[in-house]
């Protein structure tokens, strides 16, 4: 942020006051009339993003996924839950490009609609974790003392839990229900295990900022604490939060799929990639595509988020490359 601007200004000074003569300068710098202007951090980030192939591919996939999820009703040729009892296990054809499953449901439509669940669960669990974890981390870091140790103890406890043990028990704890309630349950279960990650992240950032002198200066100037947090502390951790969030969505989607594979995640008839994969593994010898396509969908989605997250990380903080 402040760094980028500084280095550019430094470059300017070197060029104008340095020992190099114009002839030795690279052509593009020597072009007359070109005024160097400082880029804002955001513009810098976007420029780097655009240059990175991985980020671009990732972004394309993610945006594509969001579009598919939003327009699933329009894109899907048929309903994903209505069964055509006469056409079970149909092979891929013009009418059913991905065939039909045991209940005669169109697989393509199910895969398309499955994106909604995966995206919804992935995003909401991470957002929920954010809303719980960030304030916790801020409090722990800023207030320090008792609050800090209590919060961190709880975070450590959650982190020490094997992810799946926690999720599995939570899933069974509340009687499985289909539809919205079931999805909320999955979201909560996944979110809980992600909270400590954000809490720790934010707390670390807060701690490193707290010592900086300009915070003391702000305080001396009479700026109130919440303002300090909002204007100085939070922006500092924004970059890692964004990166962790994007990568977190990828992990959340995998966890949801795994829970569904164990039979504990999203319940039917809500179309879910993990569930479809599991349900159709049983028929994998005769109808392999029924489980392969949901699996591929999961893979591509997670890949997209991972690529984009990686690209974001590189763009927002090139030192980490």
């Amino acid at each position: 942020m402040a760094n980028g601007g500084d280095s550019l200004r430094m470059k300017q000074r070197t060029i104008s006051g340095g020992a190099l003569n114009e002839a030795a300068l690279p052509a593009r710098v020597a072009v007359p009339g070109l005024r160097a202007r400082s880029e804002s951090p955001v513009e810098q980030a976007i420029r780097r993003l655009r240059k990175s192939t991985t980020a671009v591919i990732g972004a394309v996939i993610v945006i594509g996924l969001i579009l598919v999820a939003l327009f699933a009703d329009v894109l899907a040729p048929q309903s994903p839950i209505v069964s055509d009892q006469a056409q079970t296990f149909a092979r891929p054809s013009a009418e059913h490009p991905l065939g039909t499953d045991q209940l005669g449901r169109d697989m393509l439509s199910r895969v398309i609609h499955g994106s909604r669940v995966s995206l919804a669960v992935g995003v909401s669990s991470v957002v929920l974790a954010l809303f719980v974890g960030v304030p916790l981390g801020l409090i722990a870091g800023y207030v320090g003392g008792r609050a800090d140790s209590v919060v961190m103890r709880v975070m450590d406890l959650i982190l020490a839990f094997p992810v799946y043990l926690l999720a599995i028990i939570i899933m069974i704890m509340f009687t499985p229900t289909a539809g919205l309630l079931g999805t909320i349950k999955v979201v909560g279960a996944i979110a809980i295990v992600r909270v400590p990650i954000y809490a720790r992240l934010v707390r670390g950032s807060v701690l490193s900022i707290k010592e900086k002198e300009f915070i003391e200066a702000c305080r001396a100037l009479g700026v109130r604490d919440p303002m300090i947090i909002l204007r100085h502390v939070l922006p500092n951790c924004l970059a890692p939060i964004i990166v962790t969030t994007t990568l977190g969505i990828a992990t959340a989607i995998i966890v949801e799929a795994t829970l569904s594979f164990l039979g504990l995640g999203t319940q039917p008839p809500t179309p879910s990639w993990g569930w479809d994969l599991k349900a159709n593994v049983a028929f994998i010898q005769a109808n392999a595509w029924l489980s392969l396509f949901p699996g591929l969908a999961i893979f591509v989605t997670v890949l997209g988020f991972n690529l984009f997250g990686d690209g974001l990380r590189d763009a927002l903080d090139p030192r980490l490359k």
């Binding site: 009892q85 045991q102 009687t175 039917p268």
Partner: protein, 534 residues
């Protein structure tokens, strides 16, 4: 003399001799080898008198022995008992035991052991699931070391059936071993604690791993069993099971998922697939009453808000469900659409399909009569457990069919333990899809539908059901019994206390080199005559 006919006759004689001896040789069982069996579910535990589940039963039948067994065509053959006599008033059964039957710990299987075992099963403290079936027993007496007499309180037409094959049938416990070891010792299969009189001794049970049985050298049938060993593994996933079978790692699958039979047949064309008329009912039960005060198992009942009304039960269960469609989709046509409570393969079964033809128009009309319609739509919940994926498939098809009637059915998937808790403990549910247990006779269903039984999930509270069962059990004449059975099944359909969908098919799969196994549905699984032709 012309030698040709003579030569011809001689050749024919020699050839036929060779053929006959050849086929006789092929029939001679080979001794030795290990039979590798695969189960689709875990064995609960090894205290045979109290453990639930088929998997345990099929072990019990080989490690333990009883008084009698039943053949696939319904005849009784002696197990530890050599012969038996029934008094003319059908109240006294006298069993004569074979002289050379021993428990695996060396103690004799004598009349005292039989008395001990039956008394133990009747004792409420044992908490055996078989106890209700011993209600008709008045007393057991030892007449001499080889003769035991059972006196009944009233005639019980299915006493021998019950001893032979209700669940495990009667499994004889050795008094010495039972007193020496605790229930927990037996449950976990501690070496020496699980003692029976069957052809195989229990060597080891590692839950989640394997169960190993070895030939008992002093088995009372000389020469049997042929096998040295039987090793049972649990493979829950049918696809994995199929792969192991194809690779020749398993010789026998004790209960194979019907949905995958076609795939298995295609993969291993030489496999021997055994099945028969279904002996297990698949039902879509509807709850009839709920506790009036909200307390589970309360004696005060109120009708279920939806299915308490007979008209709704009939509309939904009788006319609103297309059983043929369900069979086609869920079982690929491999089951029988069946309205009667008694499955097609069970004794005294009756085809009452005509009483409930698929008639959506009639169903709609009946619902309208009760007040349901577009202005007051009917919504209910179908509970299906995850033990078998077919339950969910059936529930989904039912949901579809309900939609055609303008009725909304939501599916609630639960795991088996949750299902048991909810249904057994009078929890909240509207309809569930399950296939419960196999029925040797209609009498064995009494515990599932008597008003007094916890397992009567519908909680219909109709005492007439109890009277029917009692009459049926007391009737000795098979013809009159069949008539009563018909009455019972029609009664159940008329009142929709038991909403049956179809039979639940049962498959066993064997490698072509496994010989000597007699298929008798879920009731009798015996390895003592099995031999491996390789």
């Amino acid at each position: 003399m012309n030698r040709r006919p003579f030569l011809f006759a001689l050749t024919a004689l020699v050839v036929s001799l060779v053929l006959v001896s050849g086929s006789a040789l092929a029939q001679t069982p080979k001794r030795g080898g290990t039979l590798r069996v695969s189960y689709g579910n875990e064995i609960a535990h090894l205290d045979f008198h109290t453990a639930p589940g088929y998997e345990m039963m099929w072990v019990a039948m080989n490690v333990g022995c009883g008084l009698v067994n039943i053949t696939p065509d319904g005849k009784f053959v002696g197990d530890a008992a050599d012969s038996w006599q029934v008094s003319s008033d059908h109240l006294t059964y006298t069993f004569k035991l074979r002289p050379n039957v021993l428990f695996h710990d060396g103690t004799p299987v004598d009349a005292a052991a039989v008395k001990f075992s039956i008394d133990r099963l009747r004792d409420p403290a044992t908490k055996s699931g078989m106890r209700t079936f011993y209600d008709p027993v008045h007393s057991v007496e030892v007449l001499d070391p080889r003769t035991v007499q059972v006196r009944l309180k009233q005639p019980y037409g299915f006493f021998l059936h019950m001893l032979a094959a209700y669940r495990t049938g009667l499994i004889l416990y050795s008094p010495t071993a039972t007193q020496k070891f605790s229930v927990d010792d037996r449950k976990q299969g501690k070496p020496g604690a699980v003692v029976g009189c069957g052809p195989f001794r229990l060597i080891e049970w590692v839950k989640g791993g394997h169960l190993v049985m070895e030939r008992f050298d002093k088995y009372f049938v000389p020469g049997l069993p042929y096998l040295d060993r039987v090793v049972i593994r649990t493979i829950k996933d049918p696809v994995t099971e199929m792969a192991a079978f194809k690779a020749g790692e398993i010789d026998f699958i004790a209960s194979f998922s019907p949905e995958h039979v076609d795939t298995l047949k295609a993969q291993t064309p030489n496999s021997v697939i055994m099945t028969g008329k279904e002996t297990t009912p698949m039902k879509a039960a509807m709850k009839v009453t709920v506790p009036k005060d909200g307390k589970p198992m309360s004696k005060e009942r109120a009708p279920h808000p939806i299915f308490g009304d007979l008209r709704v039960r009939k509309a939904i269960g009788c006319y609103g469900i297309d059983r043929n469609e369900i069979v086609k989709i869920a079982f690929k046509g491999k089951a029988t659409a069946w309205v009667g409570m008694n499955p097609p393969g069970t004794l005294d079964t009756v085809d009452v399909n005509g009483m409930c033809p698929y008639d959506p128009a009639k169903a709609k009309a009946m619902l309208a009569e009760v007040g349901y319609g577009p202005s007051k739509p009917l919504t209910f919940e179908i509970m299906a457990d995850t033990e078998k994926s077919v339950f969910n498939v059936i529930a989904t098809v039912v949901k579809e069919q309900m939609a055609r009637l303008g009725v909304t059915a939501n599916i609630r998937l639960v795991d088996k333990v949750s299902w048991m808790n909810t249904s057994l403990q009078d929890g909240p549910w509207d309809m569930y899809v399950e296939d419960l247990l196999s029925l040797l006779t209609l009498d064995s269903n009494a515990y599932l539908s008597n008003t007094t039984s916890s397992w009567s999930h519908e909680r219909h509270n109709d005492k007439r059901v109890d009277e029917f069962y009692a009459r049926y059990a007391r009737e000795i004449d098979p013809v009159k019994r069949k008539a009563i059975a018909k009455e019972i099944q029609e009664f159940f359909v008329e009142n929709m206390y038991w909403n049956n969908i179809s039979g639940s098919p049962f498959y066993m799969v064997a490698q072509p080199w496994m010989k000597g196994y007699t298929y008798n549905a879920e009731f009798e699984v015996h390895y003592h005559r099995v031999w491996l032709d390789k």
